[in-house]
Structures are given as structure tokens and as C-alpha cells.
Symmetry: C2
Subunit: 309 residues, 2 copies
């Protein structure tokens, strides 16, 4: 089998469930993660190593990493907000650990209680710690510049700061750098401009794009990033998560619609849409009462539709 | 004042209301149309000259054309499905008349009870009739290739047919040719490819793009068309209209989100977003119980947001 043209990382179990109204039981999360993997999703962010008191929904992240590791071919990702979280991720055996570094100082304090510079210093320590591990226990490290396209607390975010923090993350030894539109402020022109500038600064380490659909521009921004050379996208099944200010103002880019868009364009994702809709049913059953989005799943595939691969 | 960078035609009073659950009273339609114009919308498709027995919601189109004509600077558009409809549009004094010509034979029969070729013959007759009018009573004529990106009845639609029908419409004397994704099957790669081919065939007569958001790709498709040189877009306030297969599978591209996307990109639309949200309130009040979409209106504008113009 040829590699797919793009890589989609499902972040619903982390970004989605940490914002959901109700807890999804651990066993249900495992069934959902397995269903996602069965649909061809090869990278899943299963949780976040944060204190359970702060985010109870993430308390079972270690167990989910273990479950994910039992699925052949799956890259298991976990978020860590600091060195302590990274130590937990190491212990659990995550394949990849992602660190959010907010380009907005206000958001950085609110999110990780540190300045962006202090957060980058923590990432640097984590890289050193990672490099000291046995070779089969060294996770990939991703530095994600959060609020890279604006911030609900401070408004506009300096593009120079985004480039600077991305550069510092690459220099700190991150294997990959990502840009995240944490609050859905970005637009396609800005996406192209900022990704281009960061690529000029850090080269091929720039990998991922994480968009929210708060103002409906999620897919348009993903398209813009794709046109700018991005081949790695985060998204969330049913559009779970994010900052839902209001009903209908859904959170993350919707995985089902993102996969449909790229497959329809002839860009293969490696994901089977019909099986993805089955994984969606698993998620919907396990989160009763949760608002779930997704135009393609609700409208169905076009008559005679065939996937790219 | 400089001209805006793009032209948006609000089709809600036609494409939206002909699919709404309840009738909007004529007086409420007038208030809504006035509120849209007050927000800076300079082109509105106010209705369709079809037999009131077929679509009761369009019975007051003549009166709405008259109302629209009373608003300075507004281009009043009406749809006509045949010569008889065009005669009514002429009599009412529409500034622009749009004819839907389906590239899908199945949809053409279902929509206008004619083959695409017979429909184009009717358009040709209408151009002759138009040219025989006094110079101040000659509406612009637009030929819109419907189901140009696929059809729920026949599935895939031949791109060669789309190019052929667009060419025939230009040769029939249409001032403008538009391409419509009537059922929300299109994707950005296809949009770029088909618009490029049609532009090669008919040149600058290719003007408008009409997208539906059925599978969530409306804005991404609009972005793709913009990048391909399109500067004229249809959209519908609140995403009214279209083919709503299911809740959440909204119809047309949402005007509010389309305006937000372009303004955020620095592409001026001439439309004031805050005033547009007021016009949305007018519409919502006048259509109780109708599902209304729009991420930007629900989430609000980003902190510190400034429009392009």
C-alpha cells in the first residue's frame, strides 16, 4: 500500500473530551479509539497528562496510551503541559508528545501558568530527558505554537512572535513544529502567510496544522495550509472540543468533513469514510446529549462517490 | 468610495425562502431586503417568477422587485425558469434575470421540465426579447449552469457538458455565466478545474459562483473559486435554503461567514458585518422555528477585528 498523501491526527479523545459535558467511560474511549484505528486513522491524540483534579476527563490517559500501543500501526500521541506531564508520557510509552506553547502571553499564563519562554525552557529539558532514554523509549516531541492566529484574551497575536517561538521550539530540539488556531480566529490568507514564514524559519520541521471551526473557516484554512505545503492535520470527530461560545459554533475542524474534502479532491488520507462514520456512531453512543457536528456524515456521501486511494 | 474587491449576491429571499418551512409575509421580506441593503449588500435575488401554485413562497416576487427598485444602488435579481417567467421579470423591472440550466439531464427535467438544450433555446429567445425593449428596460441576463459539480439524481456530471452548456449560454447572448453547485457535491480541486475550463471557453463572461454547504465545503469552495479569479459569489443569510437532507446539513453558503472570511483576508465586500448581523435578526424574527446557521454570527467577531475596507 502506498502512503497516503496526507496524515490526519484525530484529537477528539483529547481536545474533544476535555471540553465535553460528560465524562466518557474509559472502556468506551478504548472502543472508540479502536474503531478510529479500524477506519484507517494512524495517529490519535488519546489524552493529556495533566493533574486529574484540573481536568478529570483526562485522568485515564496512561491507560489509553497503553491501549493505543496495543493497536498495530497506530501512533499514540499525548499532550504534556510541562516536564511532569512529559515524565508521565514517557512512563506510559506515548509515541509522540505534543507541547502547547501559546504565542499569546495572556493565553500562555491561563493555559500552562508560564510565559512562552518558560514553557520553551521546559520543552528543552524534556528533549534532554528524552535523549537520555533507551533508544526504544524515545518519543517524538512536537512543539505546537498555540493561539498562533489570534487570542480571545489579547486579540491579535504578533506574527513575528509566532515565527520566533516556532524557531525557539525547533532550536530546543523538537522533531516537529505545529501551528494551532486555538480559538478559530484564523483566515486563509493569514494561514498561508504565517505557515510560509514559519517554514522559511524552521524548514521541514514545520509539520502540523490544528484548526478550529469556531467561525466556520476550518476547512478553508485547512485547504489554505494544504496549498502552502502542509501535509499533517489535526481534527476532531464530530467537531468535538474547542471553545464553543455558542450552540453551532463548533470546536475543532470536523474529521469526517476534512477527510471527505481531501478524498474528494483526490488527496488520499488512508481513512475509509464509511468505517469512519461507524466510529462516529460509537462516539455518539458513548456521549449522550453532546452536540455533535458533521455535514458529510449527516448528508451522506455523494451518489457514486469514490475515495482517492 | 472604492469598489469592493468582490461582489456578493444575497439569494436568501429566493433560494432560502423557497425551501423554508413557513411563508415569510411580504412586508417582512421587504423589511429584511431593506436591512440587507442597509448593511451594504448591493445585489439581492428577491424571488423567482414561477407559478405560485408550484412555489407559493415566490408569489410576491413582482412586489419585491418593485420594493427592491425603490432602494438606491441595489441591483434587483430574479430567477426565471422559462420565457414566461422572463416576461414577468421584464414587466416587474428586474435589473438582472438569472436562468438555471442544469448540466444534469435528470435534474433539468425535474427542475424546469425541459432538456438543457431546450432551456438554452428559451434563454436565447429571452435575449432577443430583451434586446427589443427600450434601452432603460433591458435587464442583464445570467445563465447559471446548475448541478455543475454533481447531481443527487444522476451522480457525477460531465465536466465537458458543463463547459459546453456554459459556452452555449454565452453564445446565446448571456451577459454573465455562473456555475452552481446546486447539491453541495463540489470540492476545491474540482472547483478550480471546472472554473478554469469554463473561463478558457467563455472568457470574462464567467462571473458567478453559487455554492451549497451540504457537506461543509462551501467556504473552502468559495476560497478555491476566488483563487481561480472569481469575484462574484451567491450566498444566503443564515445558510437558508438548498437541499437540507438532514439537520445540520445546511443549504447555501452562509452569507455572514462568507463575508467574514473575505473581510478577514483583507478582501473587501462592501458589507458591514455588524449591520449584517442586524439584518440576520430581522430574518430570524420573521421565520420563527426555521433552522438558521452561521458560525460567525453565533461566535461573534474576533476581539479587535477590523474589516478590510
Amino acid at each position: 500500500m502506498a502512503s497516503p498523501d496526507i496524515q490526519i491526527c484525530e484529537v477528539g479523545p483529547r481536545d474533544g473530551l476535555q471540553n465535553a459535558k460528560h465524562l466518557m467511560p474509559t472502556e468506551a474511549k478504548k472502543v472508540w479509539i479502536s474503531a478510529l484505528a479500524a477506519a484507517g486513522v494512524t495517529e490519535i491524540e488519546v489524552g493529556s497528562f495533566v493533574p486529574p483534579k484540573l481536568i478529570p476527563a483526562m485522568a485515564d490517559t496512561g491507560e489509553l496510551v497503553a491501549h493505543g500501543r496495543s493497536i498495530a500501526g497506530l501512533t499514540v500521541v499525548a499532550l504534556a503541559p510541562n516536564l511532569k506531564g512529559f515524565q508521565c508520557a514517557l512512563e506510559a510509552g506515548a509515541h509522540k508528545v505534543t507541547f502547547p506553547v501559546s504565542a499569546s502571553r495572556a493565553h500562555s499564563q491561563s493555559n500552562v501558568r508560564m510565559s512562552p519562554e518558560d514553557m520553551i525552557a521546559q520543552v528543552r529539558q524534556c528533549v534532554v530527558l528524552r535523549d537520555a532514554q533507551p533508544s526504544n523509549r524515545r518519543p517524538q516531541i512536537e512543539g505546537a505554537v498555540a493561539t498562533a492566529f489570534g487570542c480571545t484574551l489579547q486579540g491579535a497575536v504578533s506574527e513575528d512572535d509566532v515565527v520566533r517561538f516556532a524557531t525557539l521550539l525547533a532550536e530546543a530540539g523538537c522533531d516537529a513544529v505545529a501551528l494551532a488556531d486555538t480559538v478559530g480566529y484564523g483566515n486563509p490568507a493569514q494561514v498561508k502567510r504565517v505557515f510560509r514564514r514559519v517554514r522559511e524559519a524552521v524548514g521541514r520541521r514545520l509539520e502540523g496544522a490544528h484548526f478550529h471551526n469556531t467561525r466556520g473557516l476550518g476547512l478553508a484554512n485547512a485547504l489554505a495550509a494544504y496549498e502552502e505545503g502542509v501535509r499533517s492535520f489535526d481534527s476532531s470527530m464530530g467537531g468535538l472540543g474547542g471553545c464553543p461560545f455558542a450552540p453551532g459554533a463548533s470546536g475543532n475542524v470536523i474529521t469526517e468533513d476534512l477527510v471527505f474534502m481531501f478524498e474528494a479532491m483526490g488527496v488520499s488520507t488512508g481513512i475509509d469514510l464509511e468505517k469512519l462514520f461507524k466510529a462516529r456512531e460509537v462516539m455518539v453512543q458513548a456521549l449522550p446529549g453532546e452536540p455533535v457536528y458533521g455535514h458529510t456524515a449527516m448528508a451522506g456521501l455523494p451518489k457514486g462517490f469514490r475515495q482517492a486511494a
